[in-house]
């Protein structure tokens, strides 16, 4: 017998899971909410970690930040795995057509030699910086507290891996494996890259995961992305006929614009929680920002010549304005 189940109208007993209803009321919940909130265990852990015997498996004391509710860290993009993957797959489609466009029309070959060389020189070592960001965000996911912030950090880690891979493809498209090797040499040994490399390596040993979030996702990305992808690629190289390069880095530009909103929301939430947090965040920013600006000086110099100083000043001013908007005290 064919039953048309669709015609049955039955009244649900409840609209969502209990923990979601206690937070948002018993009404239909979004997939982001159901897939995120209170997912991480909080009580009755069985054993202490052999890698951190003084703490519980998930432990709020792995950062000096203090929160009454760690799920205050909401993601404005409302990314759960499916939403994130679909968004990135769409961006990947665009990136793929951009790469195709440049490749099939051989636009790489049409670039002036100095433009191409500068793109390779400045962008390819950033593969390693993106790889560092991948490592750091994996750490924040591993040692952070509450799925609302640990989850997007894992997505962020993979985004950074993807960026490192796009940069690799750019290297292979505009150059060859030799270009990648040469860029790695520069990352390892060239004097003008050492400040940045040192910053990244020092971030690897930061123990406090929220400090790491500030050092990596707010400060370093907040200065590196505008400098390289906006100023150098979109402004400087495009003026010199390098629009093709901007096509190849479109993913990074869009990604930075998108993730900035998320990063800022986290900083804002942390600072709004308490003056204790706000001061802590401010001190972290201050310490890491001066190091980052210092590290970027020789690279800006190289890319922009005498405009380097004023560009970095502008960058610092814009960054200060961004941070102020997040409620970080002066």
């Amino acid at each position: 017998m064919q039953i048309d189940l669709r015609t049955v109208s039955i009244k649900p007993q409840r609209q969502t899971y209990g923990h979601i209803a206690r937070r948002f009321g018993d009404k239909p919940a979004s997939r982001y909410q159901e897939g995120t909130f209170d997912l991480q265990p909080t009580a009755n852990f069985h054993y202490r970690p052999t890698w951190d015997p003084e703490r519980e498996i998930f432990d709020t004391s792995r950062t000096r930040l203090q929160m009454k509710d760690w799920y205050a860290f909401k993601d404005p993009r409302q990314y759960y795995y499916g939403a994130w993957t679909l968004a990135r797959a769409r961006q990947q489609d665009t990136a793929e057509s951009n790469f195709d466009f440049v490749e099939t029309r051989n636009l790489g070959a049409l670039l002036a030699d100095d433009v191409r060389q500068q793109a390779l020189d400045l962008l390819l070592p950033l593969r390693h910086a993106a790889w560092g960001a991948n490592l750091n965000n994996s750490a924040i996911c591993a040692y952070g507290y509450g799925t609302a912030i640990t989850q997007p950090c894992m997505f962020h880690a993979m985004d950074n891996l993807a960026i490192a891979q796009y940069l690799t493809r750019i290297g292979l498209l505009l150059g060859d494996t030799g270009s990648l090797a040469a860029a790695k040499e520069r990352w390892l040994y060239a004097a003008d890259w050492q400040g940045l490399r040192r910053y990244v390596e020092d971030s690897f040993v930061v123990q406090d995961w929220f400090e790491l979030f500030v050092a990596q996702n707010l400060v370093l990305d907040g200065l590196v992305y505008p400098l390289f992808y906006k100023t150098v690629v979109e402004d400087e190289l495009s003026l010199r006929g390098g629009t093709a390069v901007a096509m190849l880095t479109q993913f990074m530009t869009e990604w930075y614009a998108e993730t900035t909103r998320w990063v800022d929301a986290q900083i804002k939430t942390a600072c709004a929680e308490s003056p204790h947090n706000a001061v802590m965040v401010r001190d972290w920013i201050t310490a890491w920002q001066s190091r980052a600006l210092e590290a970027l000086k020789p690279l800006a110099q190289r890319a922009l010549g005498e405009r380097a100083g004023s560009t970095l000043d502008d960058l610092a001013t814009q960054f200060a304005a961004r941070v102020a908007k997040c409620g970080v005290p002066v």
Partner: protein, 119 residues
Amino acid sequence: MQVAAVKDYVGVPRDVVDNFHGNQLVFIGWDDHLMFCAPLAFPFPPTLRFGDIVEKVLPGAYGYHPDWAKIDWSKVEWMKSGEPWTPHFNRSLAENGIGHKDAIRFRTPGLTGIQGSCS
């Protein structure tokens, strides 16, 4: 063996007797009666008379079983930590040497559960 760890790794036992507010844990199993899927756990004061367990506590735990009423207590065989052992019904747990988390088993000869299946 030591636990491999980045620094000294010492576990805090969660079930020490001091955590039981004056009670101790005693585990009791009735052999050949797997209708009760596992031995049972009880919190008892060490001053409790052993006979009171058999007379007042176990009927509530095991009385559902048709064999329970047929037990001849004079023939029951007892074990503690897997070794044959004889309890004194009129003595307390402590006087019987029953410590925290001791496991006691009893066998009721001739009674082998539902249709002899040890259920």
